[in-house]
Amino acid sequence: MTESEVKQNEQEEVKNDIEVLCPSCGRFVGAYEICPHCQTQVNTRVSIKLVKRIAVIGAIVGIILLYFAAKNREVPMINIGEIQINHNMALVKVSGRVIRESIQDKKDNFSLTIDDGTGKIKLGGYNKLKKWKKHFGEKFPKEGDFIEVTGNLNITEQFGASMFLSSPHRLVVKKSFNPKRVKLNDLRIEDVNSTYRVTVKIDYVKKFGMGYSIRVTDNSVSDQSAPISLTIFDTAFNRIKNENVKKAITTKGSVCEFVAILGEYKGTLQLKLKSPDNPNYFKVIEMGAGDPYVASTTYKNTYSTTYVNKSNQKATPEQIKNLSKDDVKKYVEITGIIDEVTPQEWGTRVILTQDGSSIMVWIKKFIVGKMKLNLAKGQKLKVLGNINDFKGTLQVVPISETGIQEVTE
């Protein structure tokens, strides 16, 4: 380095020093415009003034631009099956059919699980149930609805992908679920988990510890279907808003229309109320006579464990002589002449004969109480019931009073 270059460097250094040192006290001021030690204005720091102005203007203008960019941004629609860990926290849109809903009134939480064909995702609304219900009212998204929703993804190793629901404005019900109207006779085991709208007559109501055990039959008298059970737990029952519906559904003889999910328990079809808090899912057609919760207090609930409900099938006509132990649990229709009627503590025993063969018909006490028919020897009777093996002897057990009919020639 030449002497002139050294001198030039020194001058440059001095100039730089002047810019960063306070002209009054000589101490280092860095990026300060006013000396932090003695408050002297450092007049040469023009660039700092400029930077300050750029910062304020840039921040305000930048945020305005960013605001419009965000406002006009179209949230991307993604397939649930394509969600990956890098999507965690991303704001996305998904659409699909609600396959499960869970409502926790006390915690003000709800969740919906949707399926778009590529995968399933749980949408969670925490502390938002009241707000969402207020917004949607009766149109609150329910199982079966096709919805489109925008929200932030939350991906965890333990639970996979889920989505936080924030504003109800970010969910659109594209197509409301309209359940198919069916008769109980049309229900089949293959249709389990399907949702239907049914019109039924309340045949029997019993309160148990956690809810109601209800038996319903088709409203139409022409149908030869057996009753089907409808269990309503207290948690679901309390979600029914309409007191009239509550009363009707627990009153024998009422005719109601409701939406239910078909289930099965140990091979027996049963119904479960769908979205009990949705008033559109209930209609009282006729209020039954008497008080609600009519049930025999002395009757021990045995029907649910002893009979096999074949409500989805027509009873098979059988000859008494052809019945064997292979027919146990079959739902059959037999016709014969009453040979003997023996009332007992828990029911009535009837011996029915046909072409020289006979079989015992066991009519439970609760059915006897509802029968309008007086049984007498010599009467021709048609019985629809399940074949049971009682202590080595076959017997037919009707499961409702409609299963015992007098045959008039």
Binding site: K52, G58, S167
Partner: protein, 443 residues
Amino acid sequence: MISFLTVLIYTVLGSLTGALLSLIPSLHIYNVAGFALLIWHASQSLIPQIAVAPFFISLVVAFSFINTIPMTFVGAPDESATVTILPGTKMMMSGAGYEAAVLTGTGSLIGLFMLIAMTPFFFYLFPTIHLIVSPHMHWILMLVMIYMLMSEWPKGCGMGKTVLQRFLNAWGNIFAGLLTFGLAGLLGLIITSKSPISHEMGFQNIMPVFVGLFAIPSIIQNLLSNEKIPDQHIAESINIDARTAGISAYQGVIGGMIAAYLPAVTAGIGGIIAGHATAQRGDKLFIISGGVSKIIYYVGAFLFLFIITPLSPNGLGKGGLNIILKPVLTPEKGDFFVILSVILVSGCLSFLMLLHMSKWVLAFLKVVDYRQIYIASLILMFVIVGGLTGFMGLMVMIVGTFVGMIPVFFHSRRSNCMAVLLIPICLNMAGYGDVVMEFLGLL
């Protein structure tokens, strides 16, 4: 035995990687953790599942210790140190930078042992406290924000020719603080409600704005300040007594716990509250307690994820690393002590590295102009943000930079920038997030 060795190897590896990366001024370890997660996801055989938590927590432990070096020697604070930088810089300017770095490291080491000592508290009292406090979080955060704004004092002397000039001279920094708080809050509402960043990088939604608010303004400030690093004395001992260490631990634990527990509250904000609460003063105390609070804020927040009790079945974790690792890590009962051991090993290793690396960096700064390091760091920031989040990420970063420059150049508290998270979180917790979003038309 194999599991033990795997955990140990990845603990050491994480500590070394974290230490090297932490030397880069303004680079936050969470930016690297995002990259590491993507690499791990792309090639899951690279890090065995058992080593995920040890590796990443070691990165953070090393960052908490080694980050002191750029913070002290080249004045690049992260968001946790926006109020603790001054005494360290003062020591640096008087040639005692090495001692300042070691004091901060000592504070971090004290904080590490405090985390171990507080284990019974974490399991027997903390979950109950959380149960009581969590429903009230929104107004607690509101109080923190009010406290932050009201505790800032006018820094000018009211000099000037006109009344307005004198007023602005005295109160300018207060208004700058309020402006920063408001703009950062608005920015946060935009980012959290309808981020313009691609959903493909959703897990890095917040990163560009943080780089903008904290990292780049520091770089610009240092590039403009023309600071010259004076000759540094490599001290053989540090001037600290048991009383100072004890008071620092007391203050640091309070600040660190506040920051580690409350959402969007950083060690800097926690430090202000703890400093006022304990009414203790002094540069050394400030530096050491800053070290204590930093480790509890960064490391403790992640460690809390492993406090699995009947009252906290999903842990009590908070912070960036927790969010980044959530898709690949599920804490299980019993993991706490493994993680605590990892933290201890990594912490002690990092402290030793701090002692040596401080000397190397000081020697390095004698031959290299630190501004060149900052320029390289600035380029790296653009590459990371642009690479991960694309053009819109860069735009968000630039807007964040403008907002972050206001407190830097108007000399108000940089912790006001944390309104970027404080305001949206507080509004959401209070149940008004949707209302504000709707009002802004960001639904």
